[in-house]
C-alpha cells in the first residue's frame, strides 16, 4: 500500500516537473523591447524622478526595476515599500521582515521587471 503510494506520487511528481520544464522551454514571451531595455544605463538622478506609487523605479543589486505594475500586488503594506521608490533599495530588499532576505521566488519575479543597469557613481 505505502509502496504503491510512493511509486504513484513519485511518478506524478516527475511528470509535473517535466511538464513544467517543457512548458517553460516552449513558452517564449520575451519581448524585443525588454531585451533592448536591459542594456539601458540609468543614473541615480534619473532614478529619483520615478518616486511615485504609479511610477516607481528601484535600484537593487546594481539593476533598475520598474515596479509600478507590481506594487499593488506586493504583500507588505504600501508604507513599507513606497518610501524606496526612486532610490537604491538593495539593503531594504535584503532585510525584509524578521531580517530575512527575499526568497528565490521573489528574485525570479523581480527579474521580470528589470529595465536597465544602475550607472556607477562618478
Amino acid at each position: 500500500m505505502t509502496r504503491t503510494l510512493y511509486m504513484v506520487s513519485t511518478t506524478l511528481f516527475w511528470l509535473v516537473v517535466f511538464g513544467l520544464g517543457m512548458t517553460a522551454v516552449l513558452w517564449s514571451p520575451v519581448e524585443q523591447g525588454d531585451a533592448q531595455a536591459q542594456g539601458k544605463t540609468i543614473t541615480l538622478v534619473e532614478l529619483a524622478k520615478h518616486a511615485a506609487p504609479g511610477n516607481c523605479w528601484m535600484a537593487i543589486r546594481g539593476s533598475v526595476y520598474d515596479l509600478s505594475g507590481y506594487l499593488p500586488g506586493h504583500p507588505s503594506p504600501p508604507d513599507i515599500v513606497l518610501p524606496w521608490c526612486g532610490k537604491e533599495a538593495t539593503e531594504a530588499y535584503d532585510t525584509k521582515t524578521k531580517g530575512r532576505p527575499h526568497s528565490p521566488y521573489a528574485d525570479e519575479l523581480l527579474a521580470k521587471y528589470r529595465i536597465g543597469t544602475l550607472a556607477k557613481a562618478p
Partner: protein, 417 residues
Amino acid sequence: MSRLRTLSLPTLLLLFVGVPVFWAFPDALPFWRAVGIILGWAGAGLLLFNLLLMVREVRLASSLGGLERITAWHHQTGMAAYLLLLLHPLALAAAGWAESPELAWEVISPLSGNLAVWLGWGGLIFLMLGLAATFMSRLTYGVWRWLHSLLGGGVLIGFVHVLQLGISAGGLLALATAVLILLWRLLRVDLGTAAKPYIVTSVRSVAQSMVEISLKPLAMPVDAVPGQFVLTAFFRGPSYRGCGEFHPFTISGIGLEHELRIGVKALGDCTRRMQSLEPGVSARVHGPFGEFLKDLPSRPLLWVAGGIGITPFIGCLRQQSVATPTTLIYLYRGEQDAAYLDELAALSKHSPKLALQTEATGTGPPNLSRLLPDAGALANHECYVCGPPGLIKLVSRALIDRGVSIERIHFEHFDFR
C-alpha cells in the same frame, strides 16, 4: 493501552507539525505561495517527529505505546512527510504560474543556479532514493540499513536549504534538533551504548534452522519478562565472528540469575550465521521492549502461534502456569520446524487450564475454519496471535468474522525495517 499512552503520539505529532507551521504562517502572501510555505514547514515538522520515533529508549518506547506502535507511526509519518515535501515545490511553482509558465519553472528549476534551490532538490532526491531503498525488501539488512540512512542525510540537507533561504532561527533550530536526534540514535542504538553486555552460555538446536541461545549478564541485567523482546547483537567468540547488528529476538525464558533465553530462526544472513553460535561469544542486549503478553486480562485467552511465533508463548508458560482457561493453537509446516513441541506437551499436562492444539500445516494456508473455535466459544475471549505477517492477517480476519472485536485481537509483527 492507557488513554495517556494512546494520546501520546498524536499529541507529539500535533506539536511537531503545529509549532513550525504556526511560527512560519505566511501573512498576506499569494494563495499558492502560502500553501507552498505551509507544506514545507508541515513536512519539516513531520520529519523531525519521524526522527524522534527512531530513538529506542526503553521508557520512552513504553510511554509511547511500545516499539511496534512507534515503528508503524515511523513508517506512516515518513511517507506523509515525503508527500508534503513533494507538493511543496509544486505549490511554489503554482504561485509562479499565475505570472507565467516560465516563472513557474524558474522558481523550482535546478538549472537556476540558486544554492537554496539546489539544496532543496538535493534533500528531496536523498529522501526519494532513501525511500526507494526502504521498499526493497530483498536487500540484505546491512545494505538496507546503509541505504535507509540516506533519509537522514536528506533531512539534514533539507534544513540547510531552509537556512540558505535566510530563515536563520527556524532553520538553525530544526537543523540542531535533527542533528541531536540522529546522534542520539547513532550512539545509543547503532553503536550500542544503550545495550548491556552479556555472554553466550549455551546454544541448543530446537528445530530445523532454529536455535535457543542462553545469555548471562556481565553487568546489570535488562529488566525483562518472558514474551517481551530484546535487540541483541553478537560479536566475537573463540571461533565465531558475529555480524554485530542488533536484531529483535523474543525472550523465551529467564533464569534465576537473570539469564536470558532467546529463540533465533535463520531468516537472513545474520541470523543464519547465528545458528553456529558457541558459548563464550560476547553479546550486547538492548531492551526490553514489547507489550504483547504483558498484563494479561482475567478472561479466557486464545493464543495462536505460527512457527517461531511460539517463543513469546513458551516464555510465558515456562514462567508460570496460565491462570485463566487458555487455548494455544500451534501451527507449523512440518515436525522438523516445530520447536518446543515436547516441552509444550509436558507443560500442558501440568497445567489443567491450558488446552494445546498442534498442527502441521504443510506449505499451504492453515484450515482456520476447522482449527479456530466457533463464534459462541470465542465470546469473551482475548486473542493473541504471533507468527508470519500472512498468518496474522488470516487469523485476524477469521477472528473478526467470528465476531471478535479488533480491540480484543493482539499481535506482534517484528517488522522493524
